[in-house]
């Protein structure tokens, strides 16, 4: 059926795969009709998809350095776009984003703008130039451009701090989904998640991760879009929700005005289980100050452009030109999910709060709500809660509480979709969390194996030995992440947003100025990375320990402070020390021209 080389057959291979997956969904829904239990369906979905990723991971095994580090630099633009989108959209994007919009409205949507706008910076400031450079890792660029082991080492430090903050949250998410779908305790499920993650990346490195991420994107986007369209049609809200929910949005505003946002007393709120929230903010009205919105969006945009696991995906394209286009495709595939999240939030909220809909619970008697099947299920899962604070027997808007995850996980059930959709959503969440965890663990392990071990400790190491070191590190870092995730220190490590702030504090300006400012030198880069990271982290610690902060910079946007310090330090120190050597300046000139040989050789 398939002749010739793998790359030429990609559309066919993934076409068959997508068809196969859709077929699997149909088989599962038939099985559900025939009486298969919800639990078995959940297990089938997760086990089937993970098994496929593992097979792809095995088929992609390699013993070559450039295949292991940059997938042989032959990933076509569109497929690299899909892989990047999966790499990018984490378990948090998949499970928590719609919930965030549901609860916080406009203020939270700064993240949508930030997490997409950042790609404009990636495409125009960095990706094509780093691709021309020919590096294997982000510290590889910093180390070669600025020279010296210290710059390389500092870049590895920033990368590790940012990516590790991020990865524990992802392993946690795979553990949560595996524990629910396979019905095993979380402490073990975390390691099941980890083994699944390592199956994708260990044998094939970047090559394995690339082809599994494409497969994971296909699963996660089907799992996200299918329920949104289905619910919208079932509710009669519109056949294409993205263009047709204006009435629903204005109906929510109308209901909000009718119910009002009643503030609960602290005493009443003590009853509410931890992690659940009520609707306290307007859905579509502007409910944040311009600076609160803009500072969060800006921090996420600059953070996006500094996160190494995203940047290294563009090292895998065949050319500089392809790297640029590939950024556009990445954002397109991300856009498909991100533009659907607010629609899901709208549908979910309206179906719950509109008394004129059969699913609406506000205005019903408390006893009636407590008798609903899905309420009981999700109440048991600690994701829903009602309480009659004012004692009038009727459920008011301020007496209804939900967990952020419930918007994605529970809405299909509330809308009366078959269980097969819930199984599909579990597989999608697993795909989203695994693909991001893979990218992150690989970014850390590659930076340590290539930049610290090979470039600093043992430059004479044979390829075989380098790849053994790389794989051992992959396992070690994975286990370290899983061990921390298993301790469940929520709230500290759950904060994906911090990873963006750490990355931008230490890496944004050293990367950008490395291409765009020839005068930037080694001393400047060292000052920029070290002072940026230290001041950013210092600000975070200060604010978390009760510090008041300044300029409205919060613990979510501390990267703005860190990167400002980094910029000033880098410029001042560069200018008071001597200009980079003629050879370095010539190297920068060559980076700026797309044609010709890359700076670093194919094997290095």
């Amino acid at each position: 059926m398939i002749k010739g080389n793998f790359i030429d057959n990609l559309p066919k291979v993934y076409g068959i795969y997508t068809g196969g997956f859709l077929g699997f969904i149909i088989i599962m829904s038939i099985a559900e009709q025939m009486g298969m239990t919800a639990k078995t369906i959940g297990i089938c979905f997760v086990a089937f998809t993970v098994a496929i990723y593992a097979i792809i991971g095995y088929l992609s095994r390699t013993a070559q350095a450039d295949a292991y580090y940059v997938a042989g630099r032959q990933v076509p633009t569109v497929f690299n776009g899909m892989a990047t989108a999966a790499d990018w959209m984490s378990g948090a994007s998949f499970v928590a984003m719609a919930g965030g919009i549901y609860f916080k409205g406009y203020g939270y949507m700064a993240l949508l703008v930030g997490w997409t706008g950042g790609y404009v910076l990636v495409a125009s400031l960095l990706a094509p130039y780093l691709r021309k450079f020919g590096c294997y890792t982000v510290p590889d660029f910093i180390g070669t451009r600025y020279g010296g082991n210290l710059t390389r080492f500092l870049a590895v430090v920033v990368l590790t701090v940012a990516s590790f903050t991020y990865v524990t949250a992802q392993i946690n998410a795979t553990g949560t989904i595996a524990s629910v779908a396979l019905d095993i305790p979380f402490q073990y499920a975390v390691y099941v998640g980890l083994v699944s993650i390592l199956l994708c990346s260990m044998l094939g490195g970047m090559r394995g991760v690339t082809w599994t991420q494409v497969a994971q994107y296909i699963v996660l986007i089907i799992a996200y879009l299918l329920p949104v369209f289905w619910i919208s049609n079932k509710m009669g809200a519109g056949f294409f929700p993205h263009f047709m929910l204006a009435d629903e949005v204005s109906r929510i505003a109308e209901l909000e005005a009718q119910f009002g946002f009643v503030k609960n007393s602290a005493e009443n709120l003590k009853e509410v289980p931890k992690g659940l929230a009520g609707i306290t903010k307007a859905h579509s009205a502007v409910n944040a100050t311009p600076w609160a919105f803009i500072s969060l969006a800006l921090a996420m945009m600059m953070g996006t452009a500094s996160l190494p696991h995203v940047m290294m995906r563009y090292f895998t394209t065949p050319s500089v030109k392809a790297a640029r286009k590939s950024v556009g495709w990445s954002l397109f595939f991300i856009f498909l999910l991100y533009s659907s999240a607010p629609m899901l939030a709208t549908l979910s909220k309206l179906s719950l709060i509109d008394p004129s809909l059969p699913t609406g619970i506000i205005g019903k008697s408390i006893a009636e709500v407590q008798a609903i099947d899905w309420y009981q299920n999700w109440n048991q899962a600690n994701l829903m809660f009602v309480s009659d604070f004012n004692g009038n027997g009727t459920l008011e808007l301020n007496e209804f509480f939900m967990g952020g995850k419930a918007v994605v996980l529970a809405t299909p059930e509330i809308a009366g979709l078959p269980y097969v959709i819930s199984g599909l959503v579990a597989a999608g969440g697993m795909a989203a969390a695994m693909s991001t965890a893979d990218g992150l663990i690989l970014a850390i392990a590659n930076a340590i194996s290539h930049d610290v071990y090979y470039k600093i400790i043992d430059p004479k190491a044979e390829t075989a030995k380098r790849l053994v070191v790389a794989r051992v590190l992959l396992v070690v870092i994975g286990f370290a992440g899983a061990t921390i995730a298993a301790m469940e220190i929520q709230g500290i490590l759950g904060s994906v947003i911090w990873a963006f702030d750490f990355a931008m504090s230490g890496l944004f300006f050293p990367l950008v100025l490395g291409v765009w400012w020839k005068r930037a030198n080694r001393e400047g880069a060292i000052a920029g990375m070290a002072l940026g990271l230290i001041s950013g982290a210092g600000y975070l610690i200060w604010v978390r320990n009760g510090g008041s902060g300044f300029l409205g910079i919060t613990q979510l946007t501390f990267g703005i402070f860190g990167s400002a310090v980094s910029l000033v330090a880098m410029v001042v120190v560069s200018l008071i020390t001597s200009a980079p050597s003629a050879a370095t300046q010539k190297m920068v000139d060559e980076v700026r021209v797309p044609s010709g040989k890359s700076i670093l050789g194919k094997q290095h």
Partner: protein, 86 residues
């Protein structure tokens, strides 16, 4: 001025234009979020709301492809485009 310097000057010009458009739709319009939301935007959504969930996001996608095409033209003009791949 050398060919390379001219190429870089044009590239920088394109960068400034791209970042200016990016700035308007990621930061600029949100300075006036409250005022803009009074206006009805595409598909009947409040305008600011529409920008946060579709408008700005879609504009970024188009902007990147536009940027990539313009940069390719610049590279071709100076004979710096890569051969035989995509």
């Amino acid at each position: 001025m050398s060919k390379q310097a001219q190429h870089w000057e044009k590239t920088r010009g394109l960068l400034i234009m791209t970042l200016a458009i990016w700035f308007v739709f990621s930061i600029g319009i949100f300075l006036f979020g409250a005022e803009m939301n009074e206006v009805t935007g595409p598909f009947g959504y409040p305008l600011t709301y529409w920008f946060t969930c579709q408008g700005s996001l879609g504009i970024f996608v188009i902007l990147i492809f536009w940027f990539a095409n313009r940069q390719e033209k610049i590279d071709e003009e100076f004979g710096f485009s890569e051969r035989g791949d995509d």
